[in-house]
């Protein structure tokens, strides 16, 4: 039987899910005595109303593109990598180590090194869970959760110990050398005569993130490896018949996933803080889950979902100032998006499917 048209699957269902999430969030705001429309207005104004707002929105978007891609590639192999948080934290460690080790003369040299080390460290942190899943059958979800906590402890240990600047209180590394400074949007757009806010953290990493979206698309749909990953995700037994080694696919996919998460560090560590600080990831790893789910593991979808969450994060910060609504309101929306697009998908999908089938029947198809 003919089911839904493709546009309904890729656009209508996510939009309906999002709408329901927003309606419930609006009801929560009403229940605590706030005006949801005023809140929405503040959020839109705060995140898109000024170049500073846009700069923050795109900065968060960049983080979420990386973690969304990390979740997305794992999902194509039907793996749930909940460890993006820890992998991104370790990516930060890699970036910090290489940027502190060398007196970088210019960012054009520092960036490739940071990309390499961020990716490597993120991948390395994904390797053990991947290996245990592939060779010993330990469930990747549980092991990656455990590795998030182990990563947090490890980073806490390093940042209060060997990486800390002696004599200082703050649990953070020294500032990276001047030459490792990534151009911000302000500096990038000034030559074109565009006045972009100096105070926004958006930087060149945004372009790297866009490039990664393209690389992701090529990798998943235009290479043999991508084909193998998708085949494995569709049916492990069929993949084995086709001569695909499951252990190899699990490990390689998780390494790529960890590398994407680790790459986030070029944005938050290298681009923004310019030093490694405590809890630098700030939950972006978990937002990647919502981003990939909403974006249906496709680069365009991941970009749009990352932009949406970038807007929510920046707008959510404004809510605190303007309406005394805690930033955690965004966590509620995030939870609802994950719940509706990930777990309650059938609740929306089944009635919509029925509607389409009724329409086909009415048309005599």
């Amino acid at each position: 039987m003919k089911k839904m048209p493709r546009w309904a699957d890729v656009a209508l269902i996510p939009i309906l899910n999002l709408l329901i999430a927003f309606i419930i969030s609006g009801l929560v705001l009403l229940a605590i005595g706030k005006d949801p429309w005023a809140a929405l207005g503040t959020m839109i104004d705060g995140s898109f109303g000024s170049s500073r707002g846009v700069g923050y929105t795109l900065y968060y978007t960049t983080n979420f593109i990386f973690t969304g891609l990390a979740m997305g590639i794992a999902s194509h192999a039907r793996m749930f990598n909940i460890g993006g948080e820890g992998q991104a934290a370790l990516g930060g460690l890699g970036v910090a180590l290489i940027l502190l080790a060398v007196p970088w003369p210019h960012w054009t040299l520092a960036l490739p090194a940071a990309i390499l080390f961020g990716g490597l460290f993120g991948a390395a942190w994904a390797f053990i869970p991947a290996y245990l899943q592939a060779k010993r059958g330990s469930h990747i979800v549980i092991t990656t959760i455990m590795f998030n906590f182990i990563a947090a402890s490890l980073m806490g240990y390093l940042l209060t110990g060997v990486l800390k600047v002696p004599g200082k209180m703050a649990a953070e590394t020294a500032k990276f050398p001047e030459g490792a400074h990534l151009p911000t949007f302000h500096e990038m757009l000034a030559p074109f005569g565009i006045e972009f806010s100096k105070h926004a953290p958006a930087n060149l990493s945004f372009l790297v993130a866009l490039l990664c979206l393209y690389v992701f698309w090529i990798l998943v749909w235009r290479t043999r490896l991508g084909y193998n990953i998708r085949a494995f995700g569709e049916s492990e037994s069929a993949a084995v018949y086709a001569g695909i080694n499951p252990a190899k696919i699990i490990i390689i996919t998780m390494l790529i996933s960890g590398a994407f998460a680790g790459l986030m560090a070029i944005n938050n560590v290298m681009g923004e803080a310019e030093r490694l600080i405590h809890n630098a990831v700030e939950g972006a790893g978990f937002i990647g889950i919502a981003v990939a789910l909403m974006g249906r593991n496709h680069p365009i979808g991941i970009f749009l979902a990352a932009l949406l969450f970038g807007f929510l994060w920046q707008g959510g910060a404004e809510l605190q100032f303007e309406h005394q609504i805690p930033r955690e309101m965004v966590t509620v929306i995030q939870a609802l998006v994950i719940l509706l697009t990930g777990a309650l998908d059938n609740m929306v999908r089944r009635p919509v499917e029925k509607l389409f089938i009724m329409r086909y029947k009415a048309k005599g198809l």
Binding site: V28, I32, G33, K34, F80, I82, I128, L132, R136, G137, S138, H139, V141, I142, T143, I145, M146, F147, F149, I150, S153, L154, G156, Y157, G161, F286, I289, L293, Q324, I325, P326, E328, M329, V330, T331, V332, I333, Q334, A335, L336, I338, L339, G342, A343, L344, D345, N346, M347
Partner: protein, 320 residues
């Protein structure tokens, strides 16, 4: 280290282990019935918040406990609707519940009390009283056994004893009743349960309701112990409970042992930190991470394989 220090460490071991044990048993019911539950953390957090708020407003910890448990059960039901009724992904649903509780608790607490996401401190009369077991005072001066009885075993709040009692009860329910047999079967081979004419859906709902109840008690314990609710006060205990569940290989007595072990690590941490053993200094972060590291080692199957219930994580779709 003298004897009384040891008693003090074991005493706080019990206090640390109680919420872990309650949450771990919650996970045990749920996962034995085939519903993986990584939302233990969120349910505890939700219950801790509601308990803290309601106990403060009503002045009764019992009403707080009741409301907190209801909140936890409500979160359980969301998990049930998503993963049992709509055949959704149990892991994703669990993740969503953790975020939902983390977000809602702060949003509502801020609006309710205006204290930036925490609840006001509970006065002593709105908290659980310590229960002194019979003869605790009389036996206090008996050497060795006296302190063990009157300091370590006696003098805890009721939920500590409830948690300890829940262990044999869980064992008996799961392994000595027909309900328990069916519940375990729903997690191993739901098709067979269905063939026998027993509803898998109903069994799984019962399991998650019990899980909600136990997580509610765990959350209420935390709110009572700290005398208020603060942001993220569960601090990963739901995941440590999950780790303990795996470590215990989904068995109640072993769950108790593991939770006591993990509780002991927390209780002993102040005595171990920054002391060196065999020339190696023990970092506090290492002790924090130890439950997770041990669980990964267990999961890796190097110390006896942890095999989860076979149908765990899969929605049961009735054959047409």
């Amino acid at each position: 280290m003298d004897f009384m220090t040891l008693i003090a460490i074991f005493d706080s071991t019990l206090r640390y282990a109680t919420p872990l044990l309650l949450a771990c048993l919650a996970g045990l019911y749920s996962e034995r019935a085939g519903v993986v539950d990584i939302g233990l953390e969120g349910k505890m957090l939700g219950a801790a918040f509601v308990t803290g708020g309601v106990a403060y407003v009503t002045g009764s910890i019992w009403l707080g406990l009741l409301a907190g448990t209801a909140a936890s059960i409500a979160l359980s039901l969301i998990h049930g609707v998503a993963s049992i009724t709509y055949h959704g992904d149990q892991l994703i649903s669990g993740v969503a519940i953790n975020f939902l509780a983390a977000g809602l608790s702060i949003v509502i607490a801020s609006a309710w009390f205006g204290l930036g996401g925490r609840t006001p401190s509970l006065p002593p009369e709105a908290r659980f009283q310590n229960i002194n077991l019979p003869l605790a005072d009389t036996l206090q001066n008996v050497p060795i056994l006296g302190p063990i009885y009157s300091e370590l075993i006696s003098g805890h709040t009721i939920l500590v004893y409830v948690a300890l009692l829940a262990v044999p009860v869980t064992w008996a329910v799961l392994f000595r009743t027909r309900f328990g047999l069916r519940l375990r079967a729903a997690g191993e081979n739901p098709g067979a349960v269905d063939t026998a004419g027993v509803s898998v859906v109903r069994l799984r709902y019962y399991a998650i309701l019990i899980a909600g109840l136990l997580c509610g008690l765990a959350g209420a314990y935390l709110a009572d112990f700290a005398a208020n609710f603060v942001k993220d006060m569960t601090a990963g205990r739901g995941f440590i409970a999950l780790a303990a569940l795996i470590f215990a290989k989904w068995r109640p007595w072993q769950a108790m042992g593991t939770c006591l072990l993990f509780g002991f690590l927390s209780a002993a941490a102040p005595y171990l930190e920054n002391k060196s053993f065999m020339g190696i200094e023990v970092a506090s972060q290492f002790i924090d991470a130890l439950p997770y590291i041990l669980t990964v080692i267990i999961l890796a199957g190097f110390v006896g394989k942890a095999i989860p219930p076979r149908a765990g994580g899969q929605p049961y779709v009735k054959e047409q």
